[in-house]
Amino acid sequence: MSGARQLLVMAGWLLFGAGAFSQPPLLTRTLALDQLRSGLTFSGPDVQSLQADAFANPGLLWLARGESLWGQRVGPQNLSCQDCHGLKTGSMQGVAVQYPKLPTGSGSLINLEDQIRACRTQRQGVSDWGFESDGLLAMTLYVTEASKGLPLRLSPDPRLAVHLQAGASLFQRQQGQLNLSCAQCHDQQQGRRLYSDRLSQGQPNGYPVYRLEWQTLGSLERRLRSCYAGIRAESPPWGDPKMRQLALYLTWRGEGLPLEVPAVRK
């Protein structure tokens, strides 16, 4: 924990709010800014070169799909994403880094996938995109790509504090038959080997990610569920707020890391 980093965080809280946060979060960062490492740096050279390949990176297929879906008119209103949002390059830049967030008004924590699904059902009147459907992943990747290179940054919403706290305690909680917490692997043992793999920091800056194990694109939620399976814990149901809170904590923990999509991991 670097003092400078802590100071920066403190300054951040002050800037955002001078009282906007009723109580300042009690969280301390376990990783200083200069210690943050994308999961890519824990991968082998083959995975790294596949991600860097501007032709063969399989995520690009979903990106192309997302691009065509963006302009595709669907539903009873015959609306496309572009009809409301215009061209992606302008309207979607910086959008992906704001998630997970709380919707204006009331409601529970949502991630980008939730927002896209809500748009699709409420505005376009089509409810065909389930979790991990190709269309949803393609659109999520397409929107995320507009924020490529931008650092992860939590939105300065004081209402997030309680969810952040919940995510932090979930990260620390030992669970499953192996009785492991996220922190035990990704904070305390990062960089060491788990069988043939390097334990990464568990950074959320490459999602939706093309994972060779999955042979397809997948969301952060799916990745978290993989970890749940790995420690033999029962996963919360799809769309559970707990997963959003955990993702929120991960985003806070990785603040400063640039978004890298389409990412490839083992």
Binding site: F55, A56, P58, L60, L61, Q215, T216
Partner: protein
């Protein structure tokens, strides 16, 4: 009209007679028949049965990938480019779904040295 999704790439400037590397990426799940979906039920086998590439009127590449090939298969091969022509990729899978992807390969004439 394209059906399905693929990516094709070759060098930007091709002179007639050049041997060029063609890179091809096809979106396909290549389900082996042994995988399970999120609910735990078995996904029926669905792999590419065949895939062909035709440059102009000549077939330049054919492969029968079967189930040993990873999802979203990637292929590389070399062709001698003689004149501008369409590269047409066609494929069919176990479900009978037919794919087609077409892209124009532009080839310029070789400049003969002046007197």
């Amino acid at each position: 009209m394209n059906q399905g999704l693929a990516r094709l790439q070759w060098p930007q400037n091709i002179v007639a007679g050049d041997v060029v590397k063609v890179r091809l990426l096809v979106q396909h799940p290549m389900h082996t028949g042994y995988q399970q979906d999120m609910q735990g039920s078995v996904i029926a086998r669905n792999v590419l049965l065949w895939l062909t590439c035709t440059l102009g009127d000549q077939q330049v590449f054919r492969v029968e990938p079967s189930s040993g090939i990873a999802a979203n298969p990637y292929f590389e091969f070399f062709v001698r480019a003689r004149a501008s022509a369409d590269m047409v990729v066609r494929w069919q899978d176990d479900l009978g779904v037919v794919g087609k992807w077409q892209q124009r390969m532009v080839v310029v004439e070789r400049q003969t040295p002046g007197p």
